[in-house]
């Protein structure tokens, strides 16, 4: 019986396992399905990681390496090339790998850190032929950065999520011609710095409020048709532009991979598509915690690390001191907010303050983020700009929650 099994050895799982060790657990197992620890960071060879966490600029593999080094100073056990097939509500973890075979391990606590997957062509239903040359941006990134192969030479990118933007620059540096980045929303889904550094610096046009309406070509992509869309995201006839290209990369969203979470009986939040969590990243099933992109899709890995440390520390507390106690308060979406994590807070279980992550559902200029209980404002935070592509977070002092019952609301006020 392990004190803790961590499912997934990406940035979330690594930080969680390290924190659990620091907080006193001594029998911890990380199960990772890939050959190496590090997760998707291993294929993110660009820089820009770690500015918040390490106060320096690192590449993805360097960022992962810092945590792998930290982990190697602990006694945490690691099984790579091993896939978890099932987690039961009573914390049995079924796994299979060529080295250990099919095994069922029991644990006192489990941290789910499986990350997310990319939305595909089928999910968004782009009409047309089905030739080679249509890839999700992340799959293309793996081909280029890990396998050393280019998936095409003339590229259109649909979606302005960060991986798409990063791949626009990466493909350009490898000698491909990136003709356009096409975004169905009137704003980009990626970080502003990536729009500047990956598109503008390379003169790659960004078509906002546009989408790909047809893929052409029998064996290989030959053309894609791009159309402008109206406010309800429907293509406007007569606005078609045809791009001659051999590749279409899709960066149209990430979906937390919660199949195991559901099997474990954990309640999910339809807004985040991840588990409903308390302030300490505990789920609705006692002893099961989640962190990282499996909980909600983050913009920066630095925030994943912070959140995952909280999950690791909480799992240690759960094993060593028993379940967290106290009544909980629900966090509700107010105006402009599309989700919050955590979704519930138990003030009794918070030392000083609660860190709340959220995203907004449109772009805001100068504004205030307000937290209120009923009509009573508890606190507010000033911001110059908020965008859906960037995750926000606020820190709410727990003393403000002392006499609150039921729920609080997080909302945006334009000023």
């Amino acid at each position: 019986m392990y004190e803790l099994i961590v499912v997934g050895g990406g940035p979330a799982g690594l930080a969680a396992a390290c924190a659990a060790w620091e907080n006193g657990l001594r029998s911890i197992l990380i199960v990772e399905r890939d050959r190496d620890l590090g997760g998707i960071l291993n294929q993110c060879i660009h820089n820009g990681f770690g500015l918040t966490w390490f106060k320096e600029e690192l590449t993805g593999p360097e960022y992962a390496h810092r945590f792998i080094e930290m982990l190697s100073q602990t006694g945490v056990e690691v099984r790579t090339d091993t896939m978890v097939l099932d987690v039961t509500p009573d914390l049995q973890v079924h796994m299979t790998g060529p080295a250990t075979g099919y095994r069922i391990e029991r644990a006192k606590s489990v941290i789910l850190a499986m990350g997310c997957r990319e939305r595909t062509r089928g999910a968004i239903g782009i009409p047309g032929t089905r030739p080679a040359g249509v890839y999700t941006a992340g799959a293309a990134q793996r081909y280029v950065n890990v396998e050393g192969w280019l998936p095409g030479k003339r590229v259109v990118i649909l979606g302005s999520g960060d991986i798409g933007l990063i791949m626009a620059r990466r493909m350009t540096l490898e000698g491909a011609k990136v003709l356009a980045c096409v975004e169905v929303m009137p704003y980009s889904g990626g970080l502003t710095r990536n729009i500047v550094q990956c598109l503008q610096d390379f003169d790659i046009p960004l078509y906002l409020s546009h989408t790909v309406t047809q893929i052409r070509g029998r064996d290989r992509v030959e053309q894609v048709v791009v159309s402008q869309v109206d406010e309800s995201r429907r293509p406007i006839p007569g606005t078609e532009m045809v791009f001659d290209c051999d590749t279409l990369l899709l960066s149209v969203g990430l979906i937390p991979e919660n199949e195991l979470t559901e099997r474990a009986g954990v309640a999910l939040d339809p807004r985040t598509k991840g588990a409903l969590v308390y302030e300490n990243m505990e789920t609705s099933v006692p002893g099961i915690f989640t962190c990282g992109n499996v909980t909600h899709v983050h913009d920066l890995v630095d925030f994943v690390s912070a959140e995952s440390q909280r999950a690791g520390a909480a799992a240690a507390k759960f094993v060593l001191q028993g379940p967290a106690a106290g009544e909980s308060i629900a966090l509700k979406n107010g105006f402009g907010v599309s989700y919050t994590v955590p979704q519930r807070v138990r003030p009794q279980n918070v030392e000083k303050a609660v860190n709340v992550f959220f995203r907004v559902n449109r772009i805001f200029g100068k504004n205030e983020i307000a937290v209120r209980a009923g009509e009573r404002e508890l606190c507010h935070f000033k911001r110059d700009r908020l965008a859906p592509g960037e995750m926000e977070n606020i820190t709410v002092p727990v003393k403000l929650l002392e006499d609150v019952t039921g729920e609080i609301t997080v909302e945006i006020r334009e000023v």
């Binding site: 099919y102 069922i104 595909t120 062509r121 089928g122 239903g125 009409p127 192969w149 490898e174």
Partner: protein, 478 residues
Amino acid sequence: MTDVVIIGCGVIGAAAAMELSRYDLDITVLERENDVAVGTTKANSAILHAGYDPKPGTLMARLNVRGSALAKEYCAALDVPYRQCGSMVLAFSEREIDTLRELLERGVKNGVPGLQILSGDEARAREPALAKTVLAALWAPTAAIVSPWELCLAFAETAVKNGASLRLNTAVTGLERRENGWLVHTNAGDMETRFVVNAAGVDSDTVHDMAAPHSFDIKPSRGEYYLLDKAEGTRVNTVVFQCPSERGKGVLVSPTVHGNLIVGPNAEGSDKHDLATTAQGLDFVRETAKLSVPSVDFSKSIRNFAGVRANTGRDDFLIGVAAPGFVDLAGICSPGLTSAPAIGEYAVELLAGEGLALRKKEKFIFERRRVRFKELSEAERQALVARDPAYGWVICRCETVTEGEILACLRAPIPPVSVDGVKRRVNAGMGRCQGGFCAPRVVEILSRELKVSPGEIVKDRAGMNILTEETKGGAAHV
């Protein structure tokens, strides 16, 4: 000289090859593409129809009902995913209830067992997701769902195991009548044969014209589909049709043997090889399906595709002797998949009538098993991984497909050469991430096992290369 050349290795050509391979014959199957089952066979509704649709007395009616029974038996023997889930045809008006009665009557004449007309409430008791507007339904308990490409593969593998030879990437370019048979011209040389079977699918008219006077045209009809995530896979548990019209059997909602939900098709005249989906077509499919099952959640779509059916505008298949020693298995539109095993049998009869001597083989191999890791018990999984560690390595996360299963299909009688070929054999890449994670792994395994560069690995057909060139830093040597 061979005894029989079969042109085309879709499910019809494969069924004919398998039935012929029961006898001491020299059989060659010619397939234009790099794999079997890649035409109409791979893109259809995956339904085995009960047999109430065809007009009584037609060949189609007889072969449908016979095929439905044979398919059940063959799927069990050859380990092909099959589920007899039954089907319903829905009626939304009094006029359509009349249609149901006609179908029932036809079905009884055709010898379809167990047909019954249910009231709207009885239908909803079986399928709670059906629309409230459903007034009645024709229940056909013998309808089934199947993996169409695996059915074709199982037939083709059985033929090969019993001595038939399969030549892939071989397109027939002409046929010449010779004194004691035919000279077959292909892009890979000529061959002589005593008999020819035309199972060329949407191109069966072209092949027919090489051997006999022009007598029919394939008028291809394209059908577009949605495939939905397993989360929607139990939205219905039987095949749900609407009333057929002159345009076909209409839009259906059905579970698949792989656990997904399939919705479609529409029917639009098209080119023979036009497999493009259209915004209008997909809209039509969505809107029409919601009349039957309003709660289908199309946001759970994982794939759209289109297939082309070899329609001829006639009420029957075009099966028969078109020239001495030349048999057409043409115009195989729906219910072609269902009829395939019976069409195979019938092809043998027709060839015998043309003078093909049939002597049964002493030993006909009629078994096939493949390991599906996902379906094994814990104890079986443990034992399997202990015996072969490759079964411990999960390549496709969504469908839980292991490296061992991929290696096994590469050692089977008809190994795949493409990523989609692997997908059709072991389901890797068929799940919700659509190969986003496993395709690079499959490319790597194919490259290693076929001993070719990753740049030569194709998605599906020849020419569908996935990777174009090495990066500036060069390919990684893992």
